[in-house]
Subunit: 290 residues, 3 copies
Amino acid sequence: MPLTTPIDPPTRFTVTRTTDALWRVTFDNPPINLIDPTMIVELQGLLSEIERDDGPAVVVFDSADSDFFLAHYDVAADPSALDALPPAPTPFHHWANLLIRLTKSPAVTIAAIRGRARAAGSELALATDVRFASRERAVLGQFEVAFAAAPGGGPSARLPGIVGRGRALEILLGGEDFDGELAERYGYVNRALPDSELDEFVDAFAARVSRFDRLAVADVKRFVNAASLPDDDALAAEMDAFAAALARPATPALLERAFTHGFQTRSDVEFNLGAWVGELIAEPTTPTSG
Amino acid sequence: MPLTTPIDPPTRFTVTRTTDALWRVTFDNPPINLIDPTMIVELQGLLSEIERDDGPAVVVFDSADSDFFLAHYDVAADPSALDALPPAPTPFHHWANLLIRLTKSPAVTIAAIRGRARAAGSELALATDVRFASRERAVLGQFEVAFAAAPGGGPSARLPGIVGRGRALEILLGGEDFDGELAERYGYVNRALPDSELDEFVDAFAARVSRFDRLAVADVKRFVNAASLPDDDALAAEMDAFAAALARPATPALLERAFTHGFQTRSDVEFNLGAWVGELIAEPTTPTSG
Amino acid sequence: MPLTTPIDPPTRFTVTRTTDALWRVTFDNPPINLIDPTMIVELQGLLSEIERDDGPAVVVFDSADSDFFLAHYDVAADPSALDALPPAPTPFHHWANLLIRLTKSPAVTIAAIRGRARAAGSELALATDVRFASRERAVLGQFEVAFAAAPGGGPSARLPGIVGRGRALEILLGGEDFDGELAERYGYVNRALPDSELDEFVDAFAARVSRFDRLAVADVKRFVNAASLPDDDALAAEMDAFAAALARPATPALLERAFTHGFQTRSDVEFNLGAWVGELIAEPTTPTSG
């Protein structure tokens, strides 16, 4: 009976079942909460549990690391773990598939963002239903353009319906960091709360929603999804473009340079990545593809 | 000549013809401005007048009760008054039909929100063109989910295009009260004004627009409607789901409990309904349908 | 070799090539930066240069006049300069065509708004990708409705996806001025900055984006355009309605009256046009078309 076989405990996050109806998923993948193939596979397993008839009504995503909600995708990781999943056009498409599935989850998903949520980390937040952020500690951004790549996990399709066309273009083309306060002003997050109040606020909201009728919640999500979710085709096209960028010379060369400066480690580069990537292309030896 | 027969004066609101071009509709249905079948029938009659060639250019909706703009739908009311209207799939669909007609009105409609505008009251506000709110006294919300029902009057289709997907889901799934200031930050209302300035501000805006050319105003509404109104089918589907919820056991049982605590009276429950419904489901005897 | 023939230097704006990748277009058409047929022809020539393979990555639009970014269209101008362009249904449609082309430009376009950007001036800003405004000195608005015309350059189709349906209707039906602070609150501009910081902020953002990979930038624009640009047909319909208004009696009569008060000169009327047009229709001799 495969559907009821307990899956292995996840290694990239913990799942706390506060009640049957309310689960908390805490990302915990030191040193900086990179998203890697194993995390994608484990999140697909989690979604299978969430989608069960006795699954939770509400799932909160937070982080064990107050500096990093989810740093970004681990571009150095061995993709072989993804072989456990149904085939996809490229390894990267597994990420888009996961996010598409997440947006259609029967559960209400809430991102409680403390620390950095950049690139794929921002994309996961944008694929949840509701985003609350720490005013002092949240940092959101999509820095991919600085690595000569369009983001692949859907933000170009999702952001215009969340923050409007002009702010979407600024976020995606500037590749800068947005702190909690500015993210709220733009609508990038629902609300930024004082860091000392974020947990209590999220807990109260999540507990409240978890007590509501499941059919009513599912109806609301279905109607709002119909009014606001982008087509799967649009999301696949974004990932095609991201994968194509990775196959051009510019992106790997830029990544290589970034690694020599501490990219993907708990370094100043990762703490201040939005500012740092603004200088990345300026160095004279940068290859260009354009 | 039925089209020119004067209709009976409405009993649920008053109509003040400030000028031929500017009408004010003041909801006045004590004790808390519930929306009932008679109000729906009277509002349909009002729309017939508005749609006449010599109808007004601008209609302001406000309330005679500074605590309640429109409390919500009167679920205890005898629906027989609705028999005066063309047939609809259920009594509730008359409400959706009214709001669809309101959004397509040739007149510019303005909601001046002071007091509570919850559930169907919020839905009416969302079906007007422009929403101004009292910063201190306005309260908006969609609490239906706490009664095990998805809202039926269109907010799941309308809110994503007004406040964005994430904030729409928070409003609809949390079922909480939004005060004037937060409603403005979210875009739920155009603007929240100090209570002492609201009337003068709305009057000036309405008078100004009422002096503008009718063809130009109609062109603008037509183009903005084409760019932003949801399909009628999407709105009908929401009302189907609402009616289905009312036919399940959970919603009537929750309503019955609420009535014992003062629901639909001028009570603490109605004053603080957003907070109160958060505890409604938590009681152990609550039936669930999920 | 027509493609490489240098075009005549523009007379309505200057083009500063800060780098090959970053151009600055400074509107300079005294006395108040009206948009006229010659400016439209020159902007079409500019777009041809921008669209060349060696065109810029980023184009900033600003103004030599700190009181007027772009006042509005010069309704008194001889349209014959437009004969240089491919045929269009009416002279006005050349403006819509220009804006449609601008939104699809391969370059990232940034409006740095200081001074008044009303009617067609606002429309140009709305057709750029990113809008930054002076908090103290920017003024945006669409006053056409006060002249008995629906705006023709796309704002009815664009604004709902930028500021939401309710705020779009307020902007278009009220015809009032929006200062920088309110424009930011509504999302009409991305951000309003203190006037003393605007230039440095825009320069830094533009220079940063101009260093990024051209293919990545083009991918992002393509995806965001697919998710957020209105159909060309919707934009053409708006211009049809604007041209029809100009052919009715009301609009020319209102314009004639405005000219006697200083319209299109560096006058109090132009400085405070949003307020002034609110009184325009109230005069008893105004013809009406409705």
